[in-house]
Symmetry: C2
Subunit: 458 residues, 2 copies
Amino acid sequence: MDLHLELGGDGSLRARCEHALRVAVRHLPVGTRLPPTRGLAAELGVSRGVIVEAYAQLAAEGYLLTRRGGGTFVAGGEPHANAGLIGQSPAKPAIAAPAAGEGGRGDTPGATQDVRARAPRFDLRPALPALDGAFRPAWGRALNRVLRATPDARLGYPDPRGEPELREVLAASLARRRGVLASADEVVVTGGLGPSLPFVWRLLAARGVKRVAIEDPCWPRLVATLERAGLEPVPTPVDEHGLATHALEDVGAVFVTPAHQYPTGAVLDPARRARLIAWARERGAFVFEDDYDAEFRYDRQPVGSLQGLAPDVVIYGGSTSKTLAPGLRLGWLVLPKGIRADTPAPPPVLDQLALADLITRGDFDRHLRHHRRLYQQRRQALLAALAARLPDHAITGAAAGLHAVLHVATDAHAARARAAEHGVALDAIDGRLIVGYANLPESQAPAAVEALAQALQK
Amino acid sequence: MDLHLELGGDGSLRARCEHALRVAVRHLPVGTRLPPTRGLAAELGVSRGVIVEAYAQLAAEGYLLTRRGGGTFVAGGEPHANAGLIGQSPAKPAIAAPAAGEGGRGDTPGATQDVRARAPRFDLRPALPALDGAFRPAWGRALNRVLRATPDARLGYPDPRGEPELREVLAASLARRRGVLASADEVVVTGGLGPSLPFVWRLLAARGVKRVAIEDPCWPRLVATLERAGLEPVPTPVDEHGLATHALEDVGAVFVTPAHQYPTGAVLDPARRARLIAWARERGAFVFEDDYDAEFRYDRQPVGSLQGLAPDVVIYGGSTSKTLAPGLRLGWLVLPKGIRADTPAPPPVLDQLALADLITRGDFDRHLRHHRRLYQQRRQALLAALAARLPDHAITGAAAGLHAVLHVATDAHAARARAAEHGVALDAIDGRLIVGYANLPESQAPAAVEALAQALQK
């Protein structure tokens, strides 16, 4: 038989021969006898040794069989048909245009598809902070300082609970900003809140928890993460004072967003905070405090964490996804002293050290202050535009976080779909639209509200 | 009562008052009545409004109760005693001295403690590549290019299977270097092999797998990852031709290191490769190919991946932990077309794009070529020193990877412990020491072997 090999561009002659042979062999029927090495070498203009080695290599890999009496044959197996990939040149270095993100809080099932199909004119999905890159200069400086200063030996396997410097800095910073009561020993670094939930559910399941109360309404994906971990989610009502703690059923843990309920925007009131903690202590239950956007409160100081009141029963979770950018994939848990566990997946060492550097130098706090003002202005612009164009629609929730809650008379999910058609991406729960404003510059608020109003009129 | 507040240094006057108050309240008995706002304000030299607001804030957080008739009291609860942390100044920016890494392949349970206690003179743990920082200039350039070029919108939530550019580049690069047969659609980016195993086990369990054959001996942590996922590990013998495929029992999947068995160093021979694939196809079983160090082969071309022969049954896993540095926490899986899944935790977007950039520009291949030469020299130096000082001890395993296998007549685990006392960190399995050489400069090989020999003589 004739074997037409195309010697690609990369690597040594020998490596290129092997490649070409591998590609060719994938298209040949099992048992096909390969041409003698001498003939193939002559045809390709390479030394026979190269071909002998290529045959031996593919025999070692299982593509070819060499019979003792002589002769080399295509070995058995049913390789896929897409062999064309082999030898393909690497992709271009260019960085592609942005794809619509997904995976964050506020990701209603099905919402992503709409958004991904074409980029929305107004991206009001509540999961996103301002993707304005404002933190990038400071982040770049922190990364470069860390790249220069970190000893080589630190780039071995990371500390299984997170780099000690970052845990120290987080303990101090969370104490200062959120009233969290923890030493570095209780802090575990994560790749964000979402990825750490399966890990938290496993910790709880290992302690006998079977049912977990969740706020109703809540982040839609929460239910799936619990079910996948074999835990039963128990929806518990939310009103204007947050989770209805008096309605808690027989559960081993509670998932709660006390500083700013997601999505209703309610703040858990003091009496309920106290009742929740007393309830948990009484029955040996756990409280998971999702402190996702508590940095942003516009009418007063942010309410301190529940964890600071009851570090013995509260598991506290946070991340940089709402303050810096979800793409950084950096978060943390604070565990009660009785629970000691390694993170399921420590983030890259350099990123951890860069975040520690960013916080220590005050750049993180400066970024927060700047964005608190920015979001407050964007929130006011959105509310003003809504009051002018949709005066009959109530707006509820605290002056906090990255989203407002707009009440609609029609089916909110249908309204969300129509809004998407009008170029406005947002989320919906029963009777309400969840409108993120972090990515809506003040000047665009009237146009975004106009598009939304037209969608609602249909 | 008198309340002696210490106003710390950071933040607004109001925030500092709140802090000081929170710290103080944590030390007071429940029900204690706080001083009137007017008196406290006068004592501290601040306006009364500041104290009123601080009391209101702590009431909202649940620390204080305000009675209608007047008076503010410490609320119930049993806060922890380590309240001193609050108000503590943030940690120093300095990057601490290296901690002994852990978590990698070759981590014998108990080995880490010895090593961590004091840094070993010779770190011959087999999990580690050369921690010489050789890739850092190129990595820094890639990161900085990506920092500059990546659009802001890309820093939202990452693609749940990994950034498309990196998946494209990995598909092409793995095809070229490892004969992997996949399009970007089958590639899933991970945070390293270890963190992705629970995810792989879940995928398999969801497909009815209950028992998984593992190589005996194998990476010690493998057993625990399987058991934690509710799967039964079934040890299967390994000889000089790799996994004894004829000894495979009734299992739904096999975990195998075909290019360079860990830890024995055997290479799975061609007949067994074919038999393993035929066996898996016949019974609808899966093969997990852990391709952890296959880039490094010193006597011939690396044996191509098993996945390239049977992409329909093989799940392929790799990472940059043995080629660049474990601290980068970047890896990948290649899934059969029938299995489509999101990664449990996508790495940071910028790191993913930096790796794509590094590979595309050829820096990754250059690094591999350089380190292949370096490790070959280090391996030769180690073997020469062993032959000179410990001539009676056999060395087995292919000329590949980052470790050699030294046979000892005494109890290998006891020998490992004695070696640790002599400043030599390495791993052990029955009758053998696993000696990593990636971090052992040629010039230090005789001294390291001398220390080891003294430990063995005891």
